[in-house]
């Protein structure tokens, strides 16, 4: 395929996914916004006033980056895993792409791009909603770091969602990982607290949680505060991207879990 044909194929996949996510916006965009509002209300307004400050900043301002990151992670992941699983099992629509000259790497790019778009879009909406709860005092330390971590985190979890979608053999297989792996990792990754407020043993446990590094970097972009140096967060993020790209490439190219 020529570069233009590759672009058309990529655009087709992405356009189709974006049209789908806007068509069912009540399922794709609304739940995260409502959940985030509840978090802002409970942890920010109700409990936050009693907690006071965390690392020298207002607790509400402290939790906002983590909650935005929570929205990005869950939406990027679920969009890719479900879209891929749906096209593999429900309608076998994946055959439309497999019989076409679209190469495997472009198929991966098409599916994960949908996840990135949804993750970043929902994250932006949650961020805008948080402005109402922080009284229009949202701190921004470095917009490039915020934007970079948002995109890269959405990329990581889109890739992870695609692995899940390829391997899943039933709808349970799609729900198991977000429920039993992703959600606990996000909650224990420092959304609601600084790692320094934990006992020593719990701090070590947090350091093996990859999501901790993402939230750490993202929060640095807003507040200029970090539990660990920013470069470590970035290195972990890049390492995860390289690993997951390799896994996806192998799965799609060999047709494992996809072709008979």
């Amino acid at each position: 395929m020529t570069p233009f044909q590759l672009w058309v194929s990529y655009y087709t996949m992405l356009r189709k996914d974006i049209v789908r996510m806007f068509r069912i916006w009540v399922q794709t965009f609304l739940p995260s916004v409502i959940t985030s509002c509840l978090y802002f209300l409970i942890f920010g307004s109700v409990l936050g006033s009693r907690i006071g400050q965390m690392q020298g900043v207002d607790y509400m301002s402290f939790v906002v980056p983590g909650l935005v990151m929570l929205a990005i992670v869950t939406n990027a992941y679920s969009n890719t895993s479900f879209t891929f699983f749906q096209s593999k099992f429900f309608f076998r629509g994946i055959d439309e792409i497999l019989v076409s000259p679209t190469p495997p790497w472009l198929l991966i790019a098409g599916f994960i791009s949908g996840g990135i778009v949804r993750g970043v879009l929902v994250g932006t909406i949650v961020l805008l909603v948080s402005v109402f709860f922080t009284g229009l005092h949202l701190a921004i330390h470095n917009i490039l770091i915020i934007f970079g971590f948002a995109i890269l985190t959405a990329l990581v979890f889109s890739l992870a969602g695609l692995v899940n979608g390829v391997y899943a053999k039933s709808i349970d297989g799609i729900n198991l990982v977000p429920t039993f792996v992703l959600t606990p990792l996000v909650y224990l990754g420092g959304v609601f607290y600084s790692v320094h407020s934990l006992p020593q043993a719990a701090q070590y446990a947090t350091y093996v949680n990859p999501i901790f590094y993402l939230i750490n970097g993202f929060r640095y972009g807003f507040l200029g505060l970090a539990d660990i140096p920013l470069w470590i967060s970035l290195a972990v993020l890049c390492g995860m991207i390289i690993f997951l790209v390799a896994v996806n490439w192998y799965l799609i190219r060999t047709g494992l879990g996809l072709k008979q």
Partner: protein, 253 residues
């Protein structure tokens, strides 16, 4: 030039089932080729491997001289597939299904939309273009799949039981459409359980049974070689000559 050249193709599924045991097959350019065989004979596996939906165990496949293993994208660019099962999103609009398929072949929407509209109109779906695919009848869904397979203007069209469950009138309409396509130079590979369909449409035929090609040649050659006329004596028999040959070859193995 051969449109399709298959050499020593084998396929063993993860379950241990040997679906293909060294199949070799050649389909000349512009041919109308019928691949016949009972259920589970290996027809759909051959099609699946040719189009990239199934991984082969060994062997080679070339489409217009292009190896599907080493240059899959180039080979796929020349093919169109009408699968056995309905495999599109029923919540999508009919026109979008065809236009999106064109997109996967690198055809921009500005070109794909008028082309899809013409194909759908030609296939009698002109009034259904803006409706969701779930509103289509079974026969309409089959025609939609044909339109989708033709949107990239393939030189080689593969149809896996396209007339299964389709009423007589619609089936005849499909025959006319496919014959006209073939006359324009499109090579067609058809699998079907309707033997009279193959006898009337195909120039060449191959019969596969238990993963092996048991006979191939022109329809006349195959009939001449195996037709005995004995079946006419069977009470209630109404099939054609090819059906008789088919039953003889597939029950002998």
């Amino acid at each position: 030039m051969q449109a399709l050249s298959i050499k020593d193709l084998t396929k063993t599924y993860a379950t241990g089932t040997k679906a293909l045991k060294g199949v070799s097959l050649e389909i000349p350019e512009s041919d109308f080729f019928a691949l016949l065989g009972p259920n589970g004979a290996g027809k759909t596996t051959i099609i699946g491997i040719t189009t990239g939906l199934v991984n082969k165990t060994s062997g080679t496949i070339e489409v217009f001289g292009v190896d599907t293993s080493t240059e899959p994208e180039k080979a796929k660019m020349q093919m169109g597939l009408v699968g056995q099962e309905v495999n599109f999103n029923p919540f999508e609009k009919v026109l979008n299904i065809v236009v999106n398929q064109a997109g996967y072949y690198g055809i921009p929407r500005a070109v794909a939309i008028p082309r899809a509209e013409k194909l759908l109109t030609d296939l009698g779906l002109g009034e259904k273009m803006d409706q969701n695919a779930m509103t289509l009848s079974g026969g309409m869904k089959r025609r939609l799949m044909i339109a989708r397979a033709l949107v990239n203007e393939p030189k080689f069209l593969i149809l896996d039981e396209p007339t299964a469950g389709v009423d007589v009138e619609l089936r005849r309409g499909m025959w006319e459409y496919l014959t006209a396509l073939n006359k324009k130079g499109v090579t067609i590979l058809l699998t079907t359980h309707y033997l009279e369909e193959a006898e009337q449409l195909a120039k060449h035929v191959a019969i596969i049974n238990k993963g092996e090609i048991v006979e191939s040649g022109t329809v006349e050659e195959v009939i001449a070689k195996h037709h005995t006329g004995d079946a006419k004596e069977s009470p209630g028999y109404r099939g054609g000559r090819l059906e008789e040959v088919f039953l003889k070859l597939t029950s002998e193995k």
